[in-house]
């Protein structure tokens, strides 16, 4: 059950492109000394790599368990939940004067709180079926929307005269990566990726549907809950690092299916990460150094992902 020749070629090509993007990003237009470059570009590169891994893995797994290639975990409002927990945490820490805590530790606590909330919601509302997951996604989306509107309302009520619009705050930005969280993010991503890759065979079985998966001995609810929590952690890391991205995952997951032409997660998971690296690092390289364009890459990628989504839908989605 390996890959066919076409898939092997495409996968190698993607790998080469990913490596080239990384090398190019680090070496092109180097003018100052190496120590500075490694520190400055290196940290941004690491940030982008982490985002590529989180979004690729989270989306592929999410699409497998929801049986749908047009959904992305960013829809579920995890990002909004993270921002909410983060703001509440700031409030609590601000009041408690416990500012001595390092940023990393605060982040870990925030993610832990968020995962617990997600777990409670999941336990309460998940009705043990793929349709049940769809209800949950819709709930997540609408709750996300609700929080966003409530935040806006609060802002207007508390500060009506100086209500200012922070332009671009809702969009990811790769030039302002939250460098402080890189290391803790790296550890989190490492753990989650290891977990998901260990589950690759179970994921293959989950594609066949709930009933067949249970028949083949998968503890369905337990497995789905665990996978959703891993997705939740991955999305919050990505949101904390660069900000929310809606369609990027959709783009790379579908690229991965196209590249591998396979359902097997031992191929689609790495392929999605490689495709993500090419899009992010390669895209940044092209925009920053070759085109010298000021357009925000995140917006372009989001639009590409979105257009791909529409094309996919219009061509009829094969499950």
């Amino acid at each position: 059950m390996g890959l066919n020749l076409r898939a092997k070629l495409l996968l190698s090509l993607t790998t080469v492109l990913a490596v080239l993007s990384i090398v190019g990003f680090m070496t092109l237009n180097v003018q100052s000394d190496w120590g500075f470059i490694v520190q400055h570009r290196g940290s941004r590169l690491l940030g982008m790599l982490l985002v590529a891994i989180t979004m690729g893995l989270a989306t592929v797994v999410f699409q497998t368990i929801t049986h749908n290639r047009i959904l992305t975990p960013s829809l579920m409002g995890f990002d909004v939940l993270y921002v909410l927990v983060h703001s509440l945490a700031l409030l609590v820490w601000g009041v408690g004067q416990n500012t001595g805590w390092p940023v990393e530790l605060r982040f870990i606590v925030e993610v832990a709180v968020m995962v617990s909330i997600a777990l409670v919601i999941f336990r309460l509302l998940f009705t043990d079926s793929v349709r049940g997951l769809h209800v949950l996604i819709l709930l997540g989306m609408v709750t996300g929307l609700l929080f966003r509107e409530l935040a806006e309302l609060a802002q207007r009520i508390f500060d009506p005269s100086e209500f200012s619009i922070q332009q671009g705050s809702g969009i990811a930005n790769f030039n302002r990566i939250n460098v402080q969280l890189l290391w803790v993010g790296l550890i989190g991503v490492g753990l989650c990726s290891a977990l998901l890759f260990r589950f690759r065979h179970q994921l293959d079985v989950l594609i066949l549907g709930r009933d067949v998966a249970i028949n083949l001995g998968i503890p369905y609810t337990k497995t789905i809950t665990l996978l959703m929590l891993a997705i939740c952690v991955l999305v919050s890391i990505s949101t904390a690092l660069v900000g929310p991205m809606l369609f990027f995952g959709l783009l790379v997951a579908n690229l991965a299916y196209w590249i591998t032409g396979s359902h097997q997660h031992r191929w689609t998971l790495p392929a999605s990460v490689l495709a993500g690296i090419v899009c992010l690092v390669g895209g940044q390289l092209v925009f920053e150094h070759l085109l010298n364009s000021g357009l925000p890459l995140a917006m372009i990628i989001e639009l590409c992902g979105g257009v791909l989504f529409i094309v996919l839908l219009l061509r009829g989605v094969k499950q």
């Binding site: 749908n68 959904l71 709930l139 609700l146 509107e149 619009i165 917006m299 639009l303």
Partner: protein
């Protein structure tokens, strides 16, 4: 429930809602940044007051009633065409496409006439709606939940496109205002476009039977001799014109088309001939209440009524989902 009692309860609801619209309209005329009371009109008539009434308060109240009623009916039509109760023109790309149209106008010809702007917005809105319906047709498993999910994502894509465009032309702030409707800037001479929406509502009422058939699906419609394609095209046009006129005048108003039809259907069932008048009145009530809240919550400042609508809409949507989750799952 037998027919006579349905008709009876429909009639009493009709009267009740009409009275409610009237009462709310009176309240709406009396609330605003400057102190004014309808009674002043009789006790101490003065030019300033009549001026205020007829230039600002009256147009605003009328605009609220027209926009609320027509959006609610547009939502009902879209739900019939999509054969799904959980959709709303503001969530499925129609409103975002209309805002994109207004953005095009602002980029290409900033001083464009209102009617032209409306035309472009309506065209774009029709494009967005058609895209949504075309996508729906191609989804293999049309579960009740996938439809709104797909719609929300579709709206997100259109929004991503217009954000990029707006960013490039430094119109991001303007785009935000088209995406979140409020009625604070409504004056005489700047709301009359909404009469188009009112006319469409009446037209929808006349065609109610046909749109009921559409809700039963293509095969059923063809079987009873209704030209499905033409009627869908007409429905798309009507919905798009309503949404475009509201977006051009006030900005997008979310969730009216979702909340009102879902509540009214509990009373009247799915037959549009009974439902449309009630849905129109219900939409007007919701819009008036939302706008009143928007005006009084942080008086003398205002919140966009879209904000209030979105919050209440999300809450209603959540209740529908949580109560119905067992049945969908």
């Amino acid at each position: 429930m037998n027919t006579t009692s349905t008709r009876l309860s429909t009639t009493s609801w009709l009267v009740g809602l009409a009275l409610l619209v009237f009462a709310l309209a009176i309240v709406s005329l009396n609330v605003g940044a400057s102190r004014m009371n309808l009674l002043h009109l009789f006790t101490q008539p003065d030019d300033r007051i009549t001026q205020l009434l007829f230039v600002s308060r009256w147009p605003r109240t009328l605009a609220l009633v027209l926009a609320g009623a027509s959006l609610a009916v547009a939502g009902l039509l879209l739900q019939m065409m999509a054969r799904n109760r959980l959709v709303d023109p503001s969530m499925m790309g129609t409103a975002d496409a209309a805002a994109l149209g207004v953005l095009f106008c602002a980029i290409a010809a900033p001083g464009m006439a209102l009617w032209l702007k409306f035309g472009v917005a309506a065209l774009c809105a029709a494009g967005g709606t058609l895209l949504f319906l075309a996508v729906l047709e191609r989804i293999p498993l049309r579960s009740a939940l996938i439809v709104p999910l797909v719609g929300l994502v579709l709206a997100g894509v259109i929004h991503a496109g217009s954000s990029l465009l707006a960013y490039q032309f430094e119109l991001a702030q303007a785009l935000r205002s088209w995406n979140s409707g409020d009625f604070s800037a409504i004056l005489r001479g700047r709301y009359e476009l909404l009469w188009v929406a009112a006319g469409i509502t009446v037209l929808a009422m006349l065609l109610a039977d046909r749109f009921t058939v559409i809700g039963m699906g293509k095969d059923f419609a063809t079987n009873v001799g209704v030209n499905y394609r033409w009627l869908i095209a007409l429905g798309v046009l009507l919905v798009s014109m309503v949404v475009a006129s509201v977006v051009v005048i006030a900005g997008a108003l979310p969730f009216i088309g979702l909340i009102v039809p879902n509540l009214i259907r509990r009373i009247t069932g799915d037959h549009l001939r009974h439902a449309i008048p009630l849905v129109a009145l219900g939409g007007a009530v919701l819009m008036l209440v939302a706008d009143l809240l928007a005006r009084v919550l942080i008086h003398p400042y205002e919140i966009p009524s879209a904000n209030i609508l979105a919050i209440s809409g999300c809450l209603v949507f959540l209740v529908i989902l949580i109560r119905g989750r067992k049945q969908w799952a």
